[in-house]
């Protein structure tokens, strides 16, 4: 404002003007103070008095202005004086002052968070959520959201149905910006059932007709998220889908910057729910004067929406784009034609002929791009379009980009037997071998080996030449290694070489450019934010990722209770029952096969890289982020964090929540936890638990396919373990597991397997195999599944054994927070095969004497001391094998607390 001049020397004079009645002068002085107070903190004190006085001015405008300005002066001494006026202003009679004061709390929190907490401003702010004025509500929500962002654990925005109702009421009446704050806040709420979700949706839908696009997109976010909870058969679900399309289309007629953000979000929405926009293909057609960033996004969405019904239109458009001026756009359009061919099988032929037309134009970059995508089409539809090879070969000389050259060489090598002069063609490439890029060199090596295996007689010389070029004259280790491998293969066993090199290649699929379903679900929660623009979870890029809370979509079914945050620690399970994953070893042979397969159809650079980024981050973020990321599709992993010790009837609820596998008759069953996260098992997620019913132990598994391909040929095996647990029957999954499908299976176990002492004792290492790979994980089983039904000892026997076992084998434990009576304890433990032999009352304490037997015949004797009125028990265990005591104690605790 001062055109870069430092005018801080005038500070005292300016402060003198502060007491003026002229409002404009006052405002300008305030502006000056905001800029210069920091450089002259001592002098800024002079202004405090006037501020305090202004905060009591009869004119609300001045009160608000004073408190607003004070918050902007980031000088500690001033903030000290701010507290009292701020407290007054938060309770001011004028809503204008209150709403300004609400924002001021956020400012103060930014300067001195401790002060705000000490002064109790956060509670006052929370009270403002139920203010009568909608603008005050909106600002309070905005301030709380901003504070909560820097303190993710503080749980400031504790939403309940009442406060939600207030927010929804305020939503209708506040300004557009307020609506954005409120909608973003609503999106973090988890409705308790589908009815509540529907009623919130109904009240949010009118926002879709708002003129402010940010309001529209925030409303879309809320709807997309809560829709997840609605049943698809509901009429309302269909209505909602219909209502979502027009506002999204309208966003595309806005200014290009808005369009860009909208398109990035639509890209996510289309992947999650393609049905919303499936009839709106035409709005994504590119206008020639769209900015390039809009063009590229539109193209991407066009391909996602392409289907058999509209493919003709799409192809005609893409062909049109391929003759535009902008080189990047043209390239992408040509690539898009290839992706269409791979995506819509019926159109492949038309796509190929379109590509051939484009090759005829002889425009250099178009030809090169076309050849790259034709290679991909060959990979998807082998032995179908080889007739075009001749045309491709004509353009061999014009190829100057490595990717196109590599693609062409791959084609020649792959179809060497049908190309008469394949050896000549490849030989011509060989001349400048050392000038080629690595990609081309590798491809050339493989292609010539293929050629040799197909036509061994004529090409012996050629293959020797290339092998020596690759192994002796090259500095590139990749190239040398591959050369040696081929060399050795060919020299030792040509038949094996043939089997390895000329093996039938797996088909590529169109989904290569899709976002991982788990990441997609997370991103849907971030519609309208920067995360949705970058297609990365916020933790991957937000400054310092200040403990970002992972958001996940709510589970579809209206479960009776839902945890606030999916990363809530599994409290019902025994401690330290975290799945450990043994890293899988790379399949060397598989890698070798893949070497020459060339990259699959590469998606848009942004999308693919973001997928990788996301995945890397999730792995790096440790188990918490893993569980957060997978929380949605595996609702069983969500533990009820706040369930107190339930009465016996509550047990059923708990089981329902955990997937409804438990029965009351058997011993205690812990809810399922994720043993093998999808990230570590190429998309296979396994969660499970152990149960014991009527003498039979079983392992209840939930297998979810989160990959994009079908899984089949499942098998399971256990490593040797302490109690000889082994599968009693093979893992029977009859139908292949389709993507996103979940199968529940109960695997019967016996204890006749081979025994090896593990550490910890109850550790079980499991290997699961499917058609993709073998995965390893380990889990801890609760010991009580091993307690047998005939574990009740005779009284006399008990006494004798108790005496017999030496005292050093006795272990004592405390069980805390278990307010059960002795009888309840006894009956509860009996359900899990811990039998009460006798009960005594000694000095007001209940003593329970109990026995149990493990499957391998080890007896454990217990003395449980219960002090009436105190929730803590003392457990003494005696056993001939003292190392089991600790695990028996864990079993006790698990049973009693659930």
């Amino acid at each position: 404002m001062t055109v870069g001049k430092d005018v801080s020397a005038l500070f005292p004079d300016v402060v003198n003007c502060m007491q003026t009645d002229n409002l404009e002068l006052k405002k300008l002085v305030y502006l000056y103070l905001m800029n210069y107070a920091k450089s002259q903190p001592d002098m800024a004190i002079m202004a405090v008095n006037t501020f305090v006085k202004d905060c009591e001015d009869p004119n609300p405008l001045i009160r608000a202005l004073a408190v607003r300005t004070m918050g902007c002066i980031r000088v500690d001494k001033i903030t000290e004086y701010l507290c009292e006026p701020l407290r007054k202003c938060l309770k001011d009679e004028d809503p204008y002052v209150r709403k300004t004061a609400a924002v001021c709390v956020a400012k103060l929190h930014d300067i001195n968070a401790q002060l705000v907490e000490d002064q109790g401003f956060l509670d006052t702010l929370k009270d403002l959520i139920s203010d009568s004025n909608p603008m005050v509500v909106a600002n309070a929500v905005a301030a709380l959201s901003e504070i909560a962002e820097s303190h993710p654990s503080s749980n400031l925005l504790d939403l309940n149905p009442q406060s939600i109702n207030k927010l929804l009421t305020a939503l209708n009446e506040c300004t557009e910006w307020g609506q954005i704050f409120i909608l973003d806040c609503l999106a973090n709420y988890m409705p308790k059932d589908d009815r509540e979700a529907q009623s919130i949706c109904e009240r949010v839908t009118p926002r879709l007709s708002h003129a402010n696009s940010a309001v529209v997109l925030s409303a879309v976010k809320v709807l997309m998220k809560f829709m997840e909870m609605l049943s698809k058969d509901l009429d309302y679900y269909g209505t909602l889908l219909k209502k979502l399309a027009p506002p999204l289309v309208t966003l595309l007629s806005a200014e290009p910057e808005l369009q860009y953000v909208a398109l990035r979000n639509i890209n996510l929405i289309v992947q999650k729910r393609p049905e919303i926009l499936k009839h709106e293909m035409k709005v994504f057609f590119v206008k020639y004067n769209d900015p390039i960033y809009v063009k590229l996004e539109k193209l991407d969405i066009m391909i996602r929406l392409a289907s058999q019904a509209n493919i003709a239109q799409v192809l005609a458009e893409l062909k049109e784009y391929a003759t535009e001026v902008d080189v990047d756009f043209v390239r992408k359009a040509v690539r898009a034609i290839g992706r269409c061919a791979i995506k819509v099988e019926q159109s492949a032929e038309r796509c190929v002929s379109t590509l051939l037309d484009l090759i005829q134009t002889k425009v250099n970059y178009v030809v090169q791009e076309a050849i790259v995508v034709i290679k991909d089409i060959f990979r998807k539809y082998p032995n179908k379009y080889e007739s075009v090879i001749a045309t491709l070969c004509e353009n061999l000389d014009s190829l100057d980009e490595p990717e196109a050259r590599a693609a062409m060489i791959w084609i020649v090598g792959e179809y060497a037997e049908r190309i008469d002069n394949a050896d000549e063609l490849l030989e011509s490439f060989l001349e400048g071998f050392h000038d080629e890029s690595t990609q081309v060199q590798l491809q050339l090596l493989t292609a010539i080996v293929k050629l040799f295996l197909k036509k061994p007689t004529e090409t012996q010389e050629l293959v020797q030449q290339v092998l020596s070029l690759a192994t002796q004259d090259s500095d590139n280790p990749d190239l040398r290694d591959r050369g040696y491998i081929y060399w050795r293969l060919l020299s030792t066993d040509p038949v094996a070489a043939k089997e390895v090199v000329l093996v039938e290649k797996p088909l590529i699929s169109e989904e290569t450019d899709l976002i991982e379903p788990t990441l997609l679900d997370e991103l849907i929660c971030y519609i309208g934010t920067l995360a949705s623009v970058y297609h990365k979870p916020p933790s991957a890029f937000v400054e310092g990722s200040r403990g970002i809370v992972h958001k996940s979509l709510p589970p579809r079914t209206g479960s009776s209770e839902s945890a606030e945050s999916p990363d809530a620690a599994p409290s019902g399970a025994p401690p330290s029952e975290q799945p450990a994953v043994i890293p899988t070893q790379g399949d060397l042979l598989g890698d070798l096969l893949n070497l020459d397969l060339g990259p699959p159809v590469s998606g848009p650079p942004v999308a693919t890289s973001s997928v990788q980024m996301g995945a890397v981050d999730l792995l790096g973020g440790g188990l918490d982020s893993l569980m957060g990321g997978t929380g949605f599709t595996a609702p069983s992993a969500v533990m009820p964090a706040n369930l107190g010790p339930p009465p016996s009837g509550g047990l059923g609820d708990l089981f329902d929540l955990a997937g409804g596998v438990g029965t009351l008759s058997g011993s205690h069953v812990a809810p399922k936890t994720v043993w093998l996260p999808a990230m570590k098992a190429k998309g296979l997620e396994i969660s499970g638990t152990f149960s014991r019913q009527v003498g039979a132990i079983s392992m209840d598994l939930l297998l979810t396919n989160k990959a994009l391909q079908v899984m089949s040929d499942f098998a399971i095996q256990f490593n040797r373990n302490s109690f000889g647990l082994a599968p009693a029957a093979p893992l029977q999954i009859h139908a292949p597991l389709a993507p996103n499908q979940t199968v529940e299976i109960s695997l019967p176990l016996n204890t006749v397997g081979s025994v090896m002492k593990m550490d910890p004792l109850n550790n079980l290492q499991v290997a699961v195999k499917n058609n993709i790979d073998v995965f390893y994980f380990s889990t801890l089983y609760p010991l009580h599944i091993l307690f047998v039904e005939d574990g009740k000892m005779e009284r006399q026997m008990f006494l004798a054994t108790w005496k017999d076992i030496p005292n050093e084998n006795e272990a004592q434990f405390q069980i805390k927070d278990c307010p059960l009576s002795a009888d309840a304890v006894s009956s509860k433990l009996q359900g899990s095969n811990i039998f009460t032999v006798a009960k005594r009352n000694v000095e007001g304490q209940d003593m329970l004497y109990q026995s149990l037997k493990l499957t391998n015949g080890i007896w454990v004797l217990a003395e449980l001391r219960i002090q009436p009125g105190s929730p803590s028990f003392t457990l003494s265990l005696k056993c001939r094998a003292p190392e089991v005591s600790q695990y028996v104690y864990q079993a006790y605790e698990t049973i009693l607390k659930n």
Binding site: M1, N22, L23, E24, K27, L31, N59, P60, C72, D94, P95, Y96, V103, N133, M135, N139, A142, E149, T175, W177, D184, S209, H210, A211, N212, A214, V216, L217, P246, V249, T250, S253, E255, P256, E257, L258, Y260, V261, A262, H279, K282, V283, F285, K287, Y288, P291, I292, Y293, A316, E317, E320, T323, V325, T361, T529, L530, A531, V533, F541, E543
Partner: protein, 418 residues
């Protein structure tokens, strides 16, 4: 929330900066300049630019980049919408939004920006509220202020700020009470080589100029409200009433405002009011190409098409063009290769045409791309979607207002491929 705002002119000077929180060094703009350099044209600068510690969101309007700096996860649309509002406010205050005007009124600009955001949270963005807080500069007021020492800053809390109708102030008085509504429709269309429509949609708005005394409550009904299935309303419109009765019921803001905007989608049949016949051919051998376009009316419901303007970006290989129009003026810029032809009105009896030859760079092969023809036109007294206002009623006030409704159809992004 929004941290700072930088205004950058097209030569890359930061001529204004405003910080709502702590000061962000202007060096952060270097990342913007990098991105600007990569994008060849100003329009192609990506709207969201990440930097190590901040995010830069920008819009380009009136040859000025408005660059907002944010540090945390803020909805980008929120920021972009706000920037649009800043541009609109400047335009509203000063008539035009240009570097010169902003520099001339720098005090008012700072006062306005300070009122619009508080700590990055929008405070007052409605132009009528802002104008009550800070009066726009006029020559008369400047003179009066200098003499009397009064100020541009209002010392009363704007009445609209907290009422249920924040968009309207109380105590409005007019001697002539009038309400005008303009129904303006823009056709966005892509027409392919053979003249068939690939996609066509209508973006419509109803802009209003309402100067009525007191607190009038208006209702506007349509003959065919079914056309409007995709609408965005001004906050003043009562949504419930629209849902149930398809009637627009509202207490209008004072002055000019956009009552609603609507979208008639590509699935409905959109009438295309003009056609273009073209014959643009390059030959491989010769360095001359033929060029011929004719524009004619089609489905105009008897109305005249006027203000017709044809522009086309010719391929790089075209050196010059020698053309003769049957009416209007044409220019060809050999540097930017932009051909523009100001046609004016279309007379259906004598269709306007532009014919001639193009001289191409000798020795090069014919251009790969075909030029796209961009068309602008206007048709008065016609809403091409067929939307018609049925009646306008006023409740709540006693006087009889003067009412007027005007229709207009314009070309939006109307492109003909050749």
């Amino acid at each position: 929330m929004i941290h700072s705002l930088f205004l950058i002119n097209s030569s890359g000077d930061i001529f204004l900066e405003k910080h709502w929180k702590s000061v962000v060094s202007r060096s952060v703009c270097d990342y913007f300049f990098e991105a600007q350099e990569r994008a060849t044209e100003a329009e192609n600068v990506p709207p969201v630019i990440p930097t190590p510690h901040h995010y830069l969101l920008n819009v380009y309007r009136h040859k000025i980049f408005f660059v907002a700096v944010i540090q945390t996860e803020v909805p980008p649309l929120f920021v972009i919408e706000f920037l649009h509002r800043v541009v609109d406010t400047f335009q509203d205050y000063f008539g035009v939004c240009s570097e010169v005007v902003i520099k001339d009124n720098v005090v008012v600009v700072y006062e306005v920006l300070e009122e619009m955001l508080d700590n990055g949270f929008p405070l007052a963005t409605e132009s009528n509220i802002l104008k009550e807080l800070i009066k726009p500069p006029t020559i008369l007021r400047t003179v009066v202020n200098t003499i009397t020492g009064s100020t541009n800053v209002g010392d009363q809390l704007p009445t609209g700020q907290l009422s249920v109708v924040p968009w309207r102030r109380t105590g409005v008085k007019y001697t002539n009470n009038e309400a005008y509504f303009d129904v303006i429709e823009e056709i966005d269309a892509i027409i392919d080589k053979s003249g068939s429509t690939i996609t066509a949609e209508i973006q419509g708005v109803i802009d209003a100029c309402v100067k009525l005394t007191g607190m009038p409550d208006l209702t506007l009904s349509f003959m065919n409200p079914r056309l409007l299935d995709d609408v965005s309303f001004h906050p003043c419109v009562r949504f419930k009433r629209w849902e149930s009765e398809r009637i627009l019921s509202f207490i209008p803001p004072d002055g000019n405002f956009r009552l609603l905007s609507y979208h008639v989608s590509a699935q409905n049949l959109v009438a295309i009011p003009v056609y273009v016949k073209h014959n643009i051919s390059f030959r491989d051998s010769s360095s001359l190409g033929r060029f011929e376009i004719t524009v004619g009316p089609k489905q105009t419901m008897g109305k005249t098409v006027e203000g017709v303007m044809v522009t086309s970006q010719m391929p790089k290989g075209v050196l010059n063009m020698s053309l003769t129009p049957s009416q209007g003026m044409h220019t060809f810029d050999p540097v930017t290769k932009l051909l523009s032809w100001d046609v004016g009105k279309i007379n259906p009896q004598k269709l306007p045409s532009l014919k001639g030859t193009m001289s191409l760079q000798a020795g090069t092969s014919k251009p790969d791309e075909n030029p796209t023809i961009n068309l602008q036109f206007k048709i008065q007294q016609l809403a091409i979607s067929g939307l018609k206002v049925n009646r306008l009623d006023m409740y709540g006030e006693k006087y009889k207002p003067f009412k007027g409704i005007k229709y207009m159809t314009k070309a939006g992004k109307f492109q003909v491929r050749t």
